[in-house]
């Protein structure tokens, strides 16, 4: 059997490929726009405000970034998988309320509540994904409904069980101190207190990046977001992948919910509304396409870091924080335009 080698890839085509030198390869990465933005922003605030680059200030910025970033990990993966979730903001609070109300009402060790909260968070993610796959409705509608229902449940159940708009304090209950140690402690590095959420955040980003770039599941996530039908046709388990992504978001929500609970020991049942957009913004600024199939976990992390820098930087620069939202909107617009150009170039023949 002889196979005739032909010149489909002409020398010209090879040259075109060869032109993609390391620099261009780097520019092709989804998070590169965000990275440039982050560097520019960092230099800018460092020049404007001397306190910005102090180690303590950096630790504070990282902490602020991590509370967005932990969620942005799950939300980024979900967005690469072609869906998004509007219920994340209140789902975080639902998780925290579950842990605190359950262990308070039944007077159990708080760890029982923590584990129950994990089940509830994963369950919310599962239900979101399952309804989505069953009904084939857009994720916007499904998760908007979940968002509204959870908002109502948070307020209603908290008042019904605890008789108040906030959960009762659980700081003197069994297991509180160990749980605080895990979810809301600080690590002393060379005299600077760095919150543990920063390390959890970094670990989650590392795991998510490994999953995306180096595992089968990562390949499936890109595929279900890029072209669901094509993925199904070559045998990718589309349903399981998407439901799994929603459950991943649920897991991130649980981590952040537990942090909120053990950092403050009570939870306001009306909180969390609007936060879902911050996570989505972080993912989008980080280069995840809203339409799916493209992005990275590191991008989401950089998006969250930009958010943290802008949020705290404005304070350190002693500006009026009123400008923050305007600034955030501008960043979002610029990031989306950059992403659009990237996608068009990638799809170009």
């Amino acid at each position: 059997m002889t196979i005739t080698q032909t010149k489909i890839a002409s020398p010209a085509a090879d040259e075109r490929v060869a032109k993609r030198n390391p620099l261009q390869k780097l520019l092709g990465r989804p998070e590169v726009g965000a990275l440039v933005g982050a560097i520019v922003l960092f230099v800018f605030f460092a020049l404007v405000s001397p306190t910005f680059t102090q180690p303590n200030a950096l630790a504070t910025i990282l902490y602020g970034s991590s509370t967005i970033g932990i969620m942005a990990v799950g939300v980024s993966l979900l967005m690469i998988g072609g869906e998004f979730d509007l219920s994340t903001g209140v789902a975080v609070i639902s998780s925290a309320l579950t842990a605190s109300m359950f262990s308070w009402y039944f007077s159990t060790n708080v760890w029982v509540g923590v584990l129950l909260a994990l089940l509830v968070s994963l369950g919310i993610g599962f239900i979101n994904g399952w309804i989505l796959m069953k009904t084939k409705l857009p994720s916007f509608i499904v998760t908007l409904a979940t968002f509204l229902m959870l908002t109502g449940l948070n307020l209603g159940l908290t008042r019904l069980i605890g008789g108040s708009v906030s959960s009762p304090s659980i700081s003197n209950m069994d297991g509180f101190d160990t749980a605080r140690g895990v979810f809301a402690s600080a690590v002393n590095i060379a005299g600077i207190e760095v919150k543990i959420t920063v390390f959890i955040w970094i670990a989650l980003v590392a795991v998510a990046t490994w999953v995306l770039m180096r595992t089968r599941v990562g390949n499936w996530i890109f595929a279900v977001g890029g072209d669901e039908n094509a993925a199904r046709a070559v045998g990718v388990p589309v349903k399981a992948t998407k439901i799994g992504l929603f459950m991943g978001v649920g897991f991130c929500g649980w981590v952040l919910g537990m942090h909120n609970l053990f950092a403050f020991d009570t939870v306001q049942s009306g909180e969390g509304v609007g936060n879902e957009f911050l996570y989505i913004i972080a993912a989008v600024i980080g280069g995840c396409l809203l339409t799916g199939g493209y992005g990275s976990a590191i991008g989401g992390a950089i998006g969250a870091f930009i958010f943290g820098m802008a949020n705290k930087g404005i304070v350190y620069a002693q500006w009026n924080p009123d400008w923050f939202k305007f600034f955030l909107g501008l960043m979002l617009l610029l990031a989306t335009i950059v992403n659009l150009i990237v996608k068009r170039r990638a799809e170009l023949k």
């Binding site: 090879d14 499936w220 072209d227 993925a231 046709a233 070559v234 023949k349």
Partner: protein, 311 residues
């Protein structure tokens, strides 16, 4: 299983008469039918696929070609007749099911994810992994090397398998899809109108890949509405019209002209020429159609010893 491992000696065991049913075919349909509600999409279709043979399915739009391949590919289930794989009756419940039975389909819309790199597309759904348990990871370097090698063997020489597959031309993407099916040990390769959206040159390239897949021992089902593409590569031809089989021929029993005539229907073509003339169509066009009609009537008038043979 890798297609290379298919024993070359066994490929031609059905050489004597591929249209008879002994010994078993790689894949065969007998009286297969499908209806959607009260609409009969396909009825009484009989065909066979063998190792190292190309079975062409020809038909105009709406002839039932898509329904036929969807049944074989596991996207739909037939509700009449029998689908045999290696002599064993099967009914596929999902595309995965069909894939596991060695049936790979290259769809018209290609089933590739444009934004993903070529190597990720190549191994999508069948990724190579190493490691244990939760630490199982993809063997990226090996996958890239295999992609490069397999594509080179198909005649596409790429330096960078990291570029998004969307950047390749239509013909090259077809090639990737075919190479993928060949590599993953497909025994039956279904090609759904692979040349429909391509120019003349690109079509030729794809036709050559079909022959390469055939030479590697695959049974190929080539769906097309173009007899000029089907005839040079096909070993047997199934003609569909309005959901029914209107003929099933071995290559030695039919000529290109006859195939074209059967496809288009000589009378219909003559009517079209007449209509164009009446409408005052451009004389060149009318002449061309008339010439075609003359061609067709000539070939259909020639006495045929072998009529349509239904296996």
């Amino acid at each position: 299983m890798n297609a290379h491992e298919i024993d070359q000696q066994t490929l031609l065991q059905n050489e004597r008469d591929p249209l008879t049913h002994t010994p078993v075919h790689l894949l065969s349909l007998e009286g297969v039918g499908k209806h959607y509600g009260n609409i009969i999409a396909l009825s009484d279709v009989t065909m066979a696929v063998d190792n190292g043979r190309v079975t062409c399915v020809l038909g105009d739009n709406g002839a039932g070609k898509s329904t036929l391949i969807k049944i074989i590919a596991g996207l739909h289930q037939h509700d009449a007749g029998v689908l045999n794989i290696m002599g064993e009756e099967r009914k596929f419940s999902s595309p995965r099911d069909a894939l596991d039975a060695g049936i790979a389909t290259v769809y018209q819309d290609l089933a590739v994810v444009p934004l993903m790199p070529i190597w990720r597309n190549f191994f999508l759904g069948s990724e190579l992994t190493s490691g244990f348990g939760p630490f199982k990871s993809m063997d990226v370097e090996k996958m890239k090397a295999i992609t490069l090698k397999e594509l080179a063997e198909m005649g596409i020489d790429l330096r960078d398998v990291e570029q998004p597959i969307g950047q390749l031309s239509g013909g090259e993407r077809q090639c990737v899809a075919i190479a993928r099916a060949v590599y993953f040990g497909a025994k039956v390769l279904i090609l759904d109108e692979p040349t429909a959206a391509l120019g003349v040159k690109q079509s030729g390239v794809v036709l050559r890949y079909i022959l390469q897949a055939r030479d590697r021992g695959l049974g190929v089902i080539f769906i097309t509405h173009n007899p000029h593409h089907a005839f040079p590569v096909g070993d047997r031809f199934l003609l569909l019209k309005r959901g029914k089989s209107i003929g099933y021929y071995d290559k030695k029993d039919i000529t290109l002209d006859e195939l074209t005539a059967q496809m288009a229907g000589g009378a219909e073509l003559a009517e079209l020429a007449h209509e164009l003339e009446q409408l005052g169509g451009h004389s060149d066009v009318v002449k061309a159609v008339q010439a075609e009609v003359a061609d067709v009537t000539h070939s259909t008038e020639t006495p045929k010893e072998t009529g349509p043979r239904h296996a």
